[in-house]
């Protein structure tokens, strides 16, 4: 059955980086899925948009890997929502992914800047 192609449309977050961005966002504090979406979009000045078809599977995957925990809590507006929080191993993972990303982007930029 044709799942949609989530990865490649302009502005959409690339699959591999989404996990890292989620972890980074949760470093600021526990958040629900909607909050994560908003945070990524806002802090990227709307250059990035999170495809919901990737967000929740990514969150569940992170929970499964023990990088993120989830609990149901009440929001400020008295609504119930599932909140995600960074676990200690998630914190470590974030540091690793960040280092990897910086290496990658530096390398790519060096090549692109060839003249």
């Amino acid at each position: 059955m044709g799942g949609r192609d989530d990865e490649t449309r302009g502005g959409d977050v690339i699959k591999g980086t989404l996990d890292m961005l989620i972890l980074k966002t949760l470093q600021l504090g526990p958040m629900h899925g909607w909050g994560i979406t908003e945070m990524i979009e806002q802090s990227s000045q709307n250059l990035l948009s999170v495809n919901q078809g990737s967000l929740y599977p990514a969150l569940y995957r992170l929970v499964r890997r023990g990088l993120v925990t989830s609990t149901w809590r009440t929001t400020e507006n008295n609504r119930t929502a599932r909140y995600y929080a960074l676990s200690p191993s998630g914190r470590k993972q974030l540091a690793e992914e960040r280092a990897g990303w910086e290496r990658l982007s530096r390398g790519v930029n060096l090549v692109l800047d060839l003249s």
Partner: protein, 389 residues
């Protein structure tokens, strides 16, 4: 052995946990959509446009759930290792169940191979269909106890088309989709069902008809069968519902039938809507995501089923070496034997001759205390009512 037990647990528990997962995901997605709607309102959209836009950007709720659900179930699968101790204790207390289960496990270990294998659905839990002792799940055995209890649609289609021992082979997927207009929608729960669904389940609609083969083809007209309760609530049990239109996730479906009261899916969910699954068979589709249920022909021996499945497996390998090349290389690390014949676990292992001689159901031996808390479920009780109690 552990992974086999895990797999047993997985099957037994995931069905009712699925309801909980689904409910939680519903709540989570609903929350998301509502938040998005509020934001759109704040940006000056009309209420209707705000909601429509929120739904549009969210995409298919059903898809999220299918993907997300798998993720959750995997986690549970890992947790299940801890259940094995409890399983062993329970099995000891229940000699009949132990005998069959140990036999099952023994056979599976003996097989130690990669090919189709049949998991006896009856052993695990009686399915809510007539003659359920002739229903069997089909999975894929990679050898070394490494089994996947579901198939890709490609594998399924082989089992369906080439087998001489099955009366039908089918799969299904659950979904939640908004029903009604963009401003006033409810979530309807439903299933898409593949060809053979009605042959395998032996369920007939009380009104109208089932899907015909053409309706399973891509591009066919959109048609739907309704769950009985849904029909009563939404259409006041009117018989002229046939031919009426149902708006589901922005598409118009023509109602062609109504399911009988009490109809339930293998996971015991009672769907509001049934749709025809449309899938193109793609050998390169490696996703083994489809629970596959088959109806065995009467009077077929275990050896015959085994031979049949072996044969089909060989055909898959012979006709699509490219596809299996990939799988084989993945396999080689695990199984030096490569693809060798399987031993299916057969329904007749657990002859359930009369309704009275039921096998101990999941409610007794399977659910561990932590999950069940103080609930006790007499055999034959509907699980959903026990959980909501």
């Amino acid at each position: 052995m552990t992974s086999w037990l895990n797999d047993l647990w997985f099957r037994l528990r995931s069905t009712w946990q699925r309801e909980i997962i689904d409910r939680e995901m519903d709540a989570e997605f609903r929350f998301h959509i509502e938040q998005a709607t509020e934001r759109n309102l704040a940006r000056g959209l009309s209420p209707e446009a705000a909601r429509t836009e929120a739904l549009r950007t969210f995409g298919g709720v059903s898809m999220h759930k299918e993907i997300g659900g798998d993720e959750f179930r995997h986690r549970w699968l890992e947790e299940l290792a801890g259940d094995v101790k409890y399983a062993a204790r329970t099995l000891r207390k229940n000699p009949r169940f132990t005998a069959a289960t140990v036999l099952t496990i023994g056979i599976a270990i003996a097989a130690n191979t990669a090919v189709f294998s049949v998991v006896n659905g009856v052993l695990l839990r009686p399915l809510p269909f007539p003659e359920s002792n002739r229903l069997a799940y089909i999975g894929w055995d990679y050898g070394n106890g490494n089994r996947i209890s579901s198939l890709s649609f490609f594998q399924l289609s082989y089992a369906r088309e080439r087998s001489g021992v099955f009366d039908g082979v089918m799969t299904w997927r659950t979904f939640e989709r908004p029903i009604g207009g963009p401003d006033d929608f409810e979530m309807a729960s439903g299933v898409t069902v593949s060809k053979d669904f009605f042959q395998v389940t032996r369920i007939r609609p009380v009104l109208g008809r089932t899907f015909d083969d053409a309706e399973h083809q891509p591009g066919a007209a959109d048609v739907a069968l309704l769950g009985n309760a849904f029909w009563r609530e939404r259409f006041a049990a009117r018989e002229d519902v046939l031919g009426k239109t149902l708006q589901l996730d922005g598409r118009a479906y023509t109602v062609i039938g109504v399911m009988p009261p009490g109809f339930k899916m293998p996971n015991e969910a009672a769907p509001d809507v049934l749709l025809a699954m449309r899938m193109q068979i793609n050998p390169n589709d490696g996703g083994q995501n489809y629970n596959t249920l088959a109806r065995l022909r009467p009077g077929i021996s275990a050896a015959r089923i085994d031979a049949d499945l072996k044969n089909i497996s060989r055909q898959i390998i012979a006709e699509h070496p490219d596809v299996l090349g990939g799988k084989k290389s993945a396999l080689a690390a695990k199984s030096s034997a490569g693809f060798v014949p399987s031993v299916p676990v057969v329904a007749s292992l657990v002859g359930r001759s009369s309704p009275g001689s039921r096998f101990p159901s999941r409610s007794r031996s399977i659910l561990r205390p932590r999950a069940m808390r103080d609930l006790t479920v007499p055999i034959g009780t509907d699980r959903a009512s026990a959980i909501s109690a």
